[in-house]
Amino acid sequence: MFGAGGGTSSYREVEETDLLILWGSNARETHPIFFHHVLKAVHRGASLHVIDPRRTGSAQWADTWLGLDVGTDIALANTIGREIIQAGLANEAFIKRATTGFAEYRASVEPWTLQEGERVTGLPARTIRELAHAYARAERAILCWTLGITEHVTAVDNVLSLINLALLTGHVGRYGSGLNPLRGQNNVQGGGDMGAIPNKLPGFQDVQDDHTARARFGAAWGCTIPPQRGWHLTQMFEAMERGELRTLYVLGENPAQSEADSKKSLESLESLDFLVAQDILMTKTCEMADVVLPSSASWCEAEGGTVTNSERRVQRMHKALDPPGLARDDNWIIGELARRLGHDWGHPTVEEVWDELRSLSPMHRGMSYPRLEELGGIQWPCPSEDHPGSLFLHGRLWEEPIQGAPAPFSVTPWAPPIDELNDEFPIRLTTGRRLDSYNTGVQSNLYSSPLRRGETLDLSPEDAVTLDVEPGELVQVSSRRGAIEAPVRIDPGLRSGLAFMTMHFPDDIDVNVLTTDASDPKAGTAEFKATAVRVEKVNGRRRESAGVASGEAGD
């Protein structure tokens, strides 16, 4: 945030903070390692507050659970912001010295009284007030979020509305106070760091605005870097629909199954002239591809390389096994591809590639391979070889005088989810993940788990009674885009009108037939979290061998 795309706090700070908010995150299941750090804090006495429409496993650890209605996060954040201001708990000294735009923000949240917040979010006013006061009064507080915040059409504003709260209370840039998007995989952060986002060069250097950086990269690579941002994933699919994008090279992704409104996205992929897929496993996307490039598993079969975790720690990896068959390292494949396309880069080692990055990305400059080994990883930014790395970000806001630009408040208007509920589609379906499965199941469905129950439509006990359905019974779930059949599971953590599914078993039940591809105009993230559906009985039919899905076939 404020320029650099990474969480501000370290795990150690999470363990030593006084108050933790998990907003739109079921970290206990989806970020289990991070949740261990959370539990250390809890066992030390920190209070935990979980904001999630479902009463999840994480929520059951919480001092307070706030089960807001799906897609009302901004309404809640704005209400909390107004209450903090009204109660005189805003950190005025910090606001004055380190932020801009407070007056506009204050005016924008003025309508968000506790009563209005209660009306929109469904949360009791007193519970909202309690959380507002607890967060503002805490000496240290860390706010974490995940896809419950970002898989909405208002993803960017959702995040900005949370940043507002940290600016309001000064809970950023200090030890034990910060803002942290949790990363779902061991190297999501590293992908962003390396420029695998449409508008940044490696090290979060802007491809449009940062002329110096562009020139530096151009000089190193002997070419001119075009000063235009690229397409993000959603825009790529739009370009495919328009017929503008004709060739796609997919590395380690399975868009054939992971995209919202999957019927439409499959059509798009099928319409391509040429599809190349590079993966460690034969995914659905690979099956569709014209050329499949089998690659080694980078964490155990490839020579070296690094990953970056949620606390911005760059860590070395080491080869333990030889890759099977013809699989080659990603690094080798890319080099060879370049050569055959007429650019012979040779075959540099991963360390040579890394050292080139260090020469171009100031925040990585001090991270030599020997230092990464010696220090057990280094947290960026690390501008020089005598720099220890950075425990937390934005300490500059607390320096006297502050260094760099002040942090801006944002005006974040609330808008309801695109897919409206009505009599025809009265139930709100939200999607997510479970502990023992991983995204579309390409990797995790290969091994068995005693907890994996296959895909189900999770319903509240009340809705199950109203619909007259029993656990295991097959129902039809329809949205404005399509319909699927799924067996019912009853989850007492859901309230009436709220249903839940995962996307772990797309071969079996393709949940993304239901979801909308409406996406945030700035970030391109699709609204996986808010689909309006209708659930209907299918003549009491049960699923054959109820509850057993492809994931358990290996048992």
Binding site: V42, G45, S47, L48, R55, T56, G57, A59, Q60, W61, A62, D63, T64, W65, L66, G67, L68, T121, G122, L123, P124, T127, E462, P471, I490, G493, R495, S496
Partner: protein, 616 residues
């Protein structure tokens, strides 16, 4: 929490039993009907702070329903916000809880060391023949063999536990097979009967002076017999004065570990961390031990008074009595005494109008020998499995709920009344230089008058047996077991061993909790060793490897020796037993593992069991 045990729902009776104890659920997320709280829930630290209610809640369910069903277990998990797997781990830790349907009336028949000497094998044979193997249900009753019930002075003994709307538990003493069969057939249970120690009424007693003389259910009678004089004297001395007297008395703990009590109190009193807790360890489960039961049943107010003094000296506001689950009369007497003391201002706010408040909570165990270990009892009270903790930190630093804690045995605490009244120096003049004061001994087995005897430290085994009337005519002494299953056998030639900490230690024996079991020539010693080995294997909590594995290997070796099918020679087996014992002694976390082989090894070395070949 989110992991559900088979999605089982509680029956109405189960829900009612739990709610009657915990109060009605306040949120739909913990079991109330859904009302208007579907958007929020409170829990976390405040919910987890109720974890200590787990064991009493399991008791409430078990007492009313007779077993812990998956639905009942799920409901408790939900009410207390504890994962069901965790509740299951706790429920299965305790021998008195059944996780399978069970007849409402359960007869627990002791087949431990002393009862076996008194003929329990024949009782069990009769039950097996007439009713069926353990667990067989007939006419709403079933029977199970039990480890020592602490009724060795009135052996053989049994305990009846009957679940239902008005649950009943009753100890049956000096039982015979007709009586047991009648109970199995649904006979009305006899009233409680508290044993009067043989020395009752004799002058010069300190610990036993009121027992059999004062009504244990009358606070006024207790006061008429000198009760609460010590507390007043304690207030006059002040906290530091009390600790000084206890230090001067050189009182050593009577639970088995013999740690200086004054040093424990002094350490807790000086801990800046607050609050401090006081735990009275009344989980008297060492086979052959019943001395604390005699105090709890016969003079409960003396324990309350001594705990109040201890709390005053060490800065505790809250005390727990952890009572073993097999003592229903002691439970009734203590509950009654606590209520009376509260009514009369001897517990609660501003005791004796002083600026001092203290209250006591009674916690009942559920059949786990290990909970008598001084740190295991903390886990049990806190609602976890009663597993011992590594030391350090010691209980005086981090004990119950992680706070500085005084944990003392019943007899230890009651001694402090005499110390405060007579002065530490006078107390120290009783007994020997290094074992001061009076001591209770549980004399049982082949003697004319088994019972709890109070003697000054220094009496010999021979004197104690004489006090108990000697051996019955026709009996000849084969061995003496000192200290119970975790103790040590001695041979008849050692009868002149003085029973002090220093003398027993010097001779390689142990005083333990004061058990003295006389074993005559009729008893199958090898069989006793097999029971002891089985007991240790059964009661090992399983937390640390040397004990978990060692107790099994030890039992197997004994079984091979008993059957004559040794692996290698008899000498090989005996060497193996010695090696297993050394590993358990060196590497176990707690006293159970460290002493799990001591009685067995002593029988081999001191009595020459197995010497003449495999079969003893």
């Amino acid at each position: 929490m989110d992991v559900h045990l088979l999605d089982a729902e509680p029956a109405t009776a189960e829900r009612d039993a739990v709610d009657a104890f915990l109060g009605p659920p306040l949120s739909s997320w913990v079991g109330a009907d859904r009302v208007d709280d579907e958007h929020s829930a409170h829990g976390g630290h405040s919910a987890r702070a109720e974890r200590h209610q787990l064991l009493p809640t399991l008791h409430a369910l078990h007492e009313h329903v007779g077993w812990i069903s998956p639905g009942g277990l799920n409901y408790i998990a939900r009410r207390l916000t504890i994962p069901p797997a965790d509740v299951y781990g706790v429920a299965t830790f305790y021998g008195l809880f059944s996780l399978a349907p069970q007849a409402p009336r359960v007869l627990h028949v002791c087949d431990d060391i002393v009862c076996r000497c008194a003929g329990s094998e024949a009782l069990i044979a009769t039950l097996t023949e007439q009713i069926g193997p353990p667990g067989t249900e007939r006419d709403g009753s079933t029977w199970l063999p039990s480890p020592c019930l602490g009724q060795c002075d009135v052996a053989p003994a049994a305990l009846v536990i009957e679940s239902g709307e008005a649950p009943v538990a009753r100890e049956l003493t000096s039982v015979h097979s007709d009586g047991l069969l009648a109970v199995m057939a649904g006979a009305t249970l006899p009233p409680h009967r508290s044993a009067v120690p043989p020395q009752a009424g004799q002058p010069g007693l300190r610990l036993l002076r009121r027992i059999g003389m004062a009504d244990p259910e009358s606070l006024d009678d207790y006061r008429a017999h000198g009760g609460y004089a010590a507390l007043r004297r304690g207030f006059d001395l002040g906290p530091e004065g009390v600790i000084r007297e206890v230090l001067d008395s050189k009182l050593m703990g009577r639970g088995g570990a013999a740690f200086p009590t004054g040093r424990k109190w002094d350490a807790v009193a000086h801990q800046p961390r607050r609050p401090h807790y006081l735990v009275c360890n009344a989980d008297e489960s060492e086979p052959g031990t019943f001395k604390d039961r005699v105090i709890l049943e016969g003079d409960p107010f003396s324990l309350l008074e001594s705990m109040t003094i201890a709390a005053y000296a060490t800065g505790c506001e809250h005390g727990y009595i952890y009572l073993r689950g097999e003592y229903p009369l002691a439970q009734r007497r203590l509950e009654h005494a606590i209520e009376r003391a509260r009514e009369r201002g001897f517990l609660g706010e501003n005791i004796l109008s002083r600026d001092f408040s203290f209250d006591i909570e009674l916690r009942k165990g559920a059949g786990a020998y290990i909970c008598g270990e001084e740190t295991a009892v903390f886990g049990s009270i806190e609602g976890y499995r009663g597993e011992p903790r590594n030391k350090p930190p010691f209980p005086v630093q981090r004990g119950l709920f992680g706070q500085p804690t005084v944990v003392n045995n019943v007899e230890t605490l009651v001694n402090t009344l005499a110390i405060v009244l007579e002065g530490g120096a006078a107390f120290a003049s009783i007994g020997t230089e290094r074992s001061t004061g009076p001591k209770l001994f549980c004399v049982s087995g082949a003697v004319e008058h088994p019972g709890t005897y109070e003697v000054p430290f220094g009496a010999t085994v021979r004197e104690l047996l004489e006090l108990a009337g000697g051996l019955p005519a026709g009996s000849s002494l084969r061995a003496i077991l000192l200290g119970g299953a975790a103790g040590c056998f001695i041979a008849p030639k050692d009868l002149d061993l003085p029973l002090t900490f220093e003398d027993t230690r010097a001779s390689g024996a142990t005083l333990g909790s004061g058990v003295v079991v006389a074993i005559d020539q009729e008893v199958d010693l090898g069989g006793l060793l097999a029971i002891i080995a089985a007991f240790m294997r059964d009661e090992s909590c399983g937390q640390c490897v040397p004990c978990r594995v060692g107790t099994v290997r030890q039992e197997e070796a004994i079984a091979r020796l008993m059957s004559g099918r040794t692996r290698g020679t008899v000498q090989d087996e005996l060497a193996l037993i010695a090696e297993i014992g050394a590993a358990m002694r060196d590497a176990s976390i707690c006293g159970l593992g460290q002493t799990a082989s001591s009685a067995i090894e002593s029988a081999i070395t001191r009595l020459g069991v197995f010497k003449g070949g495999a079969v003893a």
